[in-house]
Every structure is written in C-alpha cells, then in structure tokens.
Amino acid sequence: MFKKVACTVPGNHRHLPYSAAFPTLRPAVLTENSEQTQERRWTGGGEEVDGGCKEREVAEDVDSVKQFSSELIVEAVVRCLRVIDPPLGNGLSPTLPPGMSARFRLGMSLAQACQDLGYKGEIGYQTFLYSSEPEIRSLLMFLVEKLPRASAEASDQPAGKSALLQKAISAQVRAQLALPWVPPTCRLPLLCRTQSTGMSGIFRSQALSLPYSKGLGKPPVKEVSDYYRDFLLPVTAQPSQYASVPASLLERHALDLSAAQEWENEWNSQGLLTRLSPEGYRSRKRARLQKRIEEQLRAAAQPHPNSPHGPHSGPDLAEMLHSFGGATTGGTVLAKGTRFTHTEKFTFTQEPETSAQQMAAAASVMPSSRQSEEDLLAQQQDELQALQDQLKQLSIRMEEVGGDMKQLSVSIAQVSDELKQRELSNGEKEDSVRVKKQTIDLLPDAENNLAKLQTLVESSAKRVISLASQWEKHRAPLIEECRRLKELCSNRELESSRKLFEIKDLHDKIRQSADEAKKKEGLYKQLITEFENLPKDVSRCAYTQRILEIVGNIRKQKEEITKILSDTKELQKEINSLTGKLDRTFAVTDELVFKDAKKDESVRKSYKYLAALHENCTQLIQTIEDTGTIMREIRDLEEQIETENGKKTVSNLERILEDYKAIRQENSALAAKVREA
C-alpha cells in the first residue's frame, strides 16, 4: 500500500492529496494564481487600451488551470504582459489567430517576451498551444509575481470604508463630468436630477456657535455655560435656512482646521524662540496687534480740512477709538481722545470765518478797468521807482545789520567765554577762601594746631585704611559670588539654547512619528476591512483537525515503514544465518564425502555431484539476486516513462509534426499564389 502511494505522488498529480484534504480551500487558495488574476485583469480591462476586443469571462465550469483552453492561456498571458510592460504587451494580440503560422509566431513572441521578463523555466510556442498544467501554473505564477504592486493595491485591494466611499464619490463625479451639459429644455429626467440648478443651492455659510469654541482649556464663565446648556440651539437649527447647514458646517470645520494648522506653524517657527509659554506668546501678540490697529485708526481719523465727512465721522471714530483703547489702556487714551475732539471742533468752526475773509480780500484787489491807460503807465513807473529805492535802502540796512550781527555774535562768544572762566575761577577762589579762612582760624596757635592736624590726618588715614580692609572682607566674596553666578548663568544660557534645539528636534520627530502613525493607522484599517471581507466559515478548528489527521496519517505510514524495515532486516538476518548454515553443512559434507571418496569409487562420483550441485546452487542464487536488481531498474524506468507520459511528449511531437505539415502546406499554398500572381 505504501509503495503505491509513493509511486503516485510524483508527477502531475502532486496536489491531489492536498486538494483532497482541503476541498473547501481549493478555489480560494489553489486556483488563486490563475483564476483570480484573470478575473482581476478581465474586469479591470475597461481601463486598458484594447482595440475593441471583448473581455473574456472565465467559464463557470472551469475550476482548475488544467481546464484552461489555449485561447484563455494566451489572453491571460498577454493581458499580464500589458500590465507589466505596456510597450511590450501592446504589440501582442490577446486573441489566438486561426492560421497555424500566425499562431506559431504569436506563441514564439509570447515565449520570447516571457523570457525577456526573466522567466527561467522551459518555454516555447507549444507551451501556449498544447499546455501542460505544471508549466502553465508556474508561468502564470511568475507573471502574477511580476504584476506591479502599487497599481494592484490601488485598483484591486479592498480599502477601508472611507476609501471605498471616496472611491464611490470619485466614480460618481467622474461619471457626471463625463456627461455633456445639455440645455435645460432638452434634458432627460436623468440629467435633470444631476444638472438642474434647483437642487443645488448656492454655497452660503453662516457663523455657528459651538459650546467649546472659545476659551479652550479654561472653564467658561457660569453664565456662558448656562447659555450653552439652556439656550443654544443645536447646530442644525442655527442657520436660517436648512439648506445652508452643510455649507456652514464645512466652513466652520475648514476654519478651525486652518486656524489650528496656522497656530502650530507659527508656534514652531517663531513662538518657541521667544521662550514664552503659549499663553504668554498669544497675549503678547494680541497686545501688539491691538496697538497697531489703534494706530492705524488714529492715523486714518486725523481731521482732513477739505473733507466734508470730517465733522460727522470724527466723533464716532473718536468714540470708537476710545472704547477700543479703553479695553486695553484705559485713562491715557481717554485724555488723548478728548484732546483730539477739541482740536477738531476748533478747526472746523474756524474754517468758515477765514474763507469769508479771503473772499473779501480778493474782491478788493480786483483792478478797475475804468482807469485810463496812460494814468496806469505813469503810476506803474512811479511805483517801480519807489520800490527800487526801498530795495536799495533795505539792502544797505541789511548789510549794516549783518555786520552788527556778526560783531554781536563775536561779542556774545567773548562774553559767554568770559562768563564761564569767571564762574570757574569763582568756584576755585571760593574753595581757596574756605581753606584760607580755616587756616587763619588755626593760625594763632600754629605749632600746636599743626601737630594736631597732622595727628588727625594720620589717624583718619589709618581709620580709612582699616575701614577699607573691612570693606574688602565684604566686597571680595560678593565679587566672587557675582562671578560665580555669571558663570552659572552663561552655562544655563548655553544649556537652555541646547535644550531649545533639542525641543525643536523632538518636535520634528513627533511630527514625523505622527505622520507615520497616521499611515500605519490607514494600513491597519485597510487590513481590518480585508480581514473582514475574508470568508468567515473556515474556522481554525477545521484546519487544525485536518492537520492533525494528516499528522496521524503520516505517523501511520511511518509505523508501516518501520515495520517493513524490521521485516527486511529479519529476512536479511535469516538469509545470513541460512547462508552460514549452508556453508558449514557443505564444508562438513564435503569433508566427509572427500574422506570416503578416497576409498570408494561410487563415493567419488557422488562427491563430484555434490560439488556440481553446490556450484549450480550458487549460480541460482546469483541469478535470483540479479533478477531482483533488474526488477528494481525496471520499476525505476517505468516511473520515468510515466513522468514522460505526463508531459504528453508524444502527442506534442505529433502535434508539432502536424503543425509543421500545416505550415508547409500554407507555405506551398502561398508560394503557389505568388507564382500565379
């Protein structure tokens, strides 16, 4: 029994015990390489460029590679090639042509293409035309391995729910875009649904109020939280029109998202460098912006003399500024605001008066045309003369005054210099007077006082020095401390800048890790969906049971093998002992007979027979052994023959011969045609 199994395992039925053991797994696992691949290609064929050739469905009854027809194989291979290497695959037709030589050419070029891709196995045109299952299987497996991964993932693998939704959306959008726009009157009901403007409203968003929107991190004021709890409408009820709910939500979401992103960018690029806490940075930025806005408003609100709007807009603006600034700076702005309004009132009340005066002056200057020409000329001459005289006088006076001024300025310089010198000498003199006064006071008892003074000076000098040494006791440690602290401080500075650098580094790393995590999350979700899509009925239990069964079978077989092995050993032993017995028996008999043979003639004859018998028996045994060896060889050869038969070599050869004949026939027909032509 064992021998039978061992004989049938090699060859083309290798998978049989396997498939017998897992009948339910077969379509999913075993044939995955062939059918699924093709189904994939076939159904995805819409995206490929194929010259109007129809996609081919794998027939229902085909459930193994063994049942593939040549057409199916050729198409499978060509489509795989097109995906793997478009320029290579596009030159090949996925349909099998009727003519033999064309078929041969297609087969050869397919084989060549596969070899170019790196297929190592034996391949020729007959592989496609007269396929054997193992060859096709290994070829298709090779091609599937070669299929580009990314596109396969993108187009084929089931993604997460969101991915599926997105895919559906994009498909829908693409389909709608592909439809031509049709004037409203010509629309079919289908188009009406997608192209009418009635359905899709204008994108109109409204500001939404959300409970958590402001004061993040801080607990809201009690009143505010009350408002949120009792009065705030749900988001869907807030917009005035129901249609603008999605728009408002989208707008709100985009706003929040961009604000968060912007803040993160700013904080990472500038905020970190200021070494402030996030709140501190925010408040500083707010104060800065407020100040700038205030300045701008103030500049814009400066009273413009010609502007008619000034008197109206001025007070409003000032008031606004006041209230705006009041929130931040308080009293100082108030004062400024009032001054600003005062000046404004002043300018605008003045204006009408001044303009009236100007008008009057202009009217008086108007020349009267009634005066005669000559009078006018003479008058002008006189006037010119008078003016020239006046000019001369003025220039003379100018010169005089200039000289005076020069002189005076020199005098001023002199006086100020003198004043300074006097002041200085005064100070000096006052000092010396004070000293001299004291000296005079001490003069009466000069000798005594001098001695006293000297002792005083000496003692105070000593005192001062002792004080200095005492001060030194305090000063030196303080200076030392100061230096130590400075050093510490600079060390800290260094440390902190180093840490800042590290923090930045960490931030980068965190961002990278977050990205990676996001990616992995996506992958995880995808795998989860994939897992969910897998058939659930195959339980682990069944698998293990089967594995255990197989293990049991193998153990049983092993036991049998050991039994047979021990049998063989026993036989060998028996043979050995028998051979020994025979040898010994022969030796004894030989001796006895030989002894007698010397005496008796008939015995001699029987000795001869004995020797002949022994020789013949030995030959017989030898022959039996040889027969065994030959039998084994025969069995080996039979096995080989069977394998060769599996390859269908003979029939293939016959077919090839037939093909050859067909090609020759076609060739001769063509040659005849040529000749006729």
Binding site: S416, D417, E458, I465, S469, C482, R483, K486
Partner: protein
C-alpha cells in the same frame, strides 16, 4: 607746595575683566559718579571688542582728567579668575607722566597682593604726604612731576615738520579759540598729537581745552559743546562727517588739515600769518633747538601781537577795542578780521 598739589587727585578706581569675559567696575575710593563711571568704562580698552590692549590712555570729561592704565595678568598671582585689570585715576590736573608712573606703582601693588587695600594705602600716602614707598625700586614722589614739564612733554617740532606751513592754521585756530578735531585710528597717536597743540598758545597755559579721547556718543559730545574752543581727539572715522563739531579738521594719517565752511571767514590768512608761519617752520627746522625753545619762539611772537592789540585797546575807553578803532587803523582786511576775532578771544572787545 606739595600739599596743594596732592589735593588735585580725585579718586582711584579699579576695573577687572574676568574669565567669563565680563568687565566689572569692582572698586573705587572715595567715590565716582555713575555718569563718569560709565564714561570711564567706555574708555577702558577692556570693554572694546577688539583685543587690542592700550596700556595707558588719558582724557578729559567735564573738567575731570582721567588716566587709565591697563595690565594683563600673566603669572599666577593673588588674582584668581581675573585676566586683565585697569587702574583708573581721576584728577583735576593734566599730567599724564605723573599719573602713569603712579598708576604703574599701584598696578604692581595690586597684582602682587590681590587686594585693593594696599593700593589704597599708597593712594592715601600720596594724598597726605605727597609720596609713596614702592617695594621694588625706590619711591614715587609727586614733586618730581611738575605741571610745566607735562605741558612741554609733547614735541612741537614733530607737529610743525609734519604740516609745514599749514601749521599756521592750527596756530590761528587755537589763538581764536576755534574748535579743532583730530582723527587717527590709533588712540596713542591721537593722544601724542593733541597734547602738543595747546602749547601753541603758551601765554594762556590752558590745557583744559584739550579733550584727547572722545567717543561719538551724546553724553560726551554734550560735555564737549559746553566749551567755546577745544582740541578733541577721535578714533572713530565717522567724525569726518560731523561738521557740526569742528571748525578745523585734522586728518592725521593723511596729514591733511581742513577748515570748515562756516569758519573760513574768521580764519582768513594774511601777511601776519605768513610771518608767524615762517617763524614756526624756521624755528622747528633748527636741529639744535629744543621743543621748549621752539615754543618760546612762538610765544614771543604771540606776545608781540598781543602787545600791539593791547596798545590799541589802551587808546580807547575802558581799554576795550571796537571794530571801528580797528577800521580806523586801515589794516588789510585779513589782519583786521584776525585781530578782531583775537580781541574777542582775549576778552579785549568792547561790548
């Protein structure tokens, strides 16, 4: 005599630069005002970015003279963590040699003992007795350093030989109490050159017009503007653009003298100037004439001019001159203008 002179010293201070690179004003006696302290710190070469060490600099700020000696601490001494230190002396008088010698003595004391107490003992000794015992070589005596010597220490011959006939511009500017600014990138050159210039008006013996080391900051310029005429030294090349600060600009590296536009009128040169200029050049060219002799020559000529001016003044009432009296004499216009301005500078003008 010595007793009076010792009173000229105002204070002694100490600036240290430590291993952290910080420059600290660590000690002083009796006291230095905060403003002056800031100025002194800016003058001290330790606070400058360049690693150049100026061993000795001096200058004037608001009529207080300061003398700064800077020493690098080399051999292991009592001073830990200190790489350089400067001794700052302030005084009422101009005498660089005296204070350089004294501060050298103080430096040795400080680097030896590492404590300002010993330094202070020396300072008090000079203040009370006019002398100070030095451990190594003799003693420091105040009376060895006369003010007269300090005035004559610079070389007028060098100045005249550098600028030739153009020296007369300097002479005129100083006589008329104009504002002279000297620029050289090296502070030592500026100090050496500027201290000579007041000697051109020897009859005044006024060295308070000298501000040899001025920075272009508002505080110092303000103090400079308070003076009518001055000789100021700058190392910052930016000074050439500040024409509001000078009437005469001396570019030392290029040996150029420029008279600013608004002072041209007062600085008109005539025959009188040529005479003085020739006298200066000839006197300075004499190989065997010392600096003090050259100064004396110039001074004699100056006195001559002044005597003329005084005699003119005596004819008028109150011994004061007016422009009219000058005009009556019919001097050439350049001489008339010079005499007029000179009279103003010498307070001989009638107001």
């Amino acid at each position: 005599m010595a007793g009076v002179e010792t009173q000229l010293m105002l204070s002694v201070g100490l600036i240290e630069k430590d291993v952290n690179g910080d420059v600290l004003w660590v000690w002083c006696y009796p006291s230095v005002s905060a403003e002056l302290r800031d100025v002194l710190l800016s003058k001290c070469c330790l606070t400058l970015d360049s690693s150049m060490l100026h061993t000795f600099v001096f200058g004037q700020f608001s009529r207080t003279w300061y003398y700064i000696t800077t020493v690098e601490v080399h051999e292991p001494t009592a001073l830990k963590k200190v790489t350089h230190f400067s001794i700052v002396l302030t005084a009422k008088d101009f005498n660089p040699e005296k204070y350089a010698a004294f501060s050298r003595v103080l430096c040795r004391m400080y680097s030896k003992h590492g404590s300002p107490v010993r330094m202070m003992e020396g300072y008090i000794a000079v203040l009370t007795k006019g002398m100070c015992q030095n451990d190594e070589n003799g003693s420091f005596l105040v009376k060895d350093y006369d003010a007269q010597k300090a005035y004559l220490a610079g070389s007028i011959k060098d100045v005249v030989s550098q600028f030739g006939m153009e020296s007369i511009i300097l002479y005129t500017a100083l006589m008329l109490k104009k504002r002279v600014v000297v620029h050289h990138p090296r502070i030592e050159a500026v100090l050496e050159f500027t201290r000579v210039l007041p000697a051109l008006t020897w009859h005044r013996k006024d060295w308070s017009i000298l501000h040899p080391y001025v920075h272009l900051n508002e505080r110092e310029l303000e103090s400079l503007r308070l003076c009518t005429g001055y000789v100021a030294g700058f190392v910052d090349p930016e000074i050439s653009n500040r024409s509001d600060l000078f009437d005469v600009y001396v570019n030392l590296p290029d040996s150029e003298i420029t008279v600013s536009q608004n002072a041209k009128e007062a600085m008109l040169m005539g025959k009188l100037h040529r005479d003085v200029g020739l006298l200066m050049v000839q006197s300075a060219e004499h190989a065997d004439r010392t600096d003090s002799q050259v100064i004396k020559d110039i001074s004699v000529k100056t006195k001559e001019i002044l005597a003329n001016l005084t005699s003119l003044a005596e004819e008028c009432e109150n011994s004061k001159i007016t422009l009219e009296t000058l005009k009556q004499r019919r001097f050439p216009p350049a001489t008339e203008s010079f005499l007029f301005h000179l009279a103003a500078a010498e307070q001989l003008l009638k107001i």
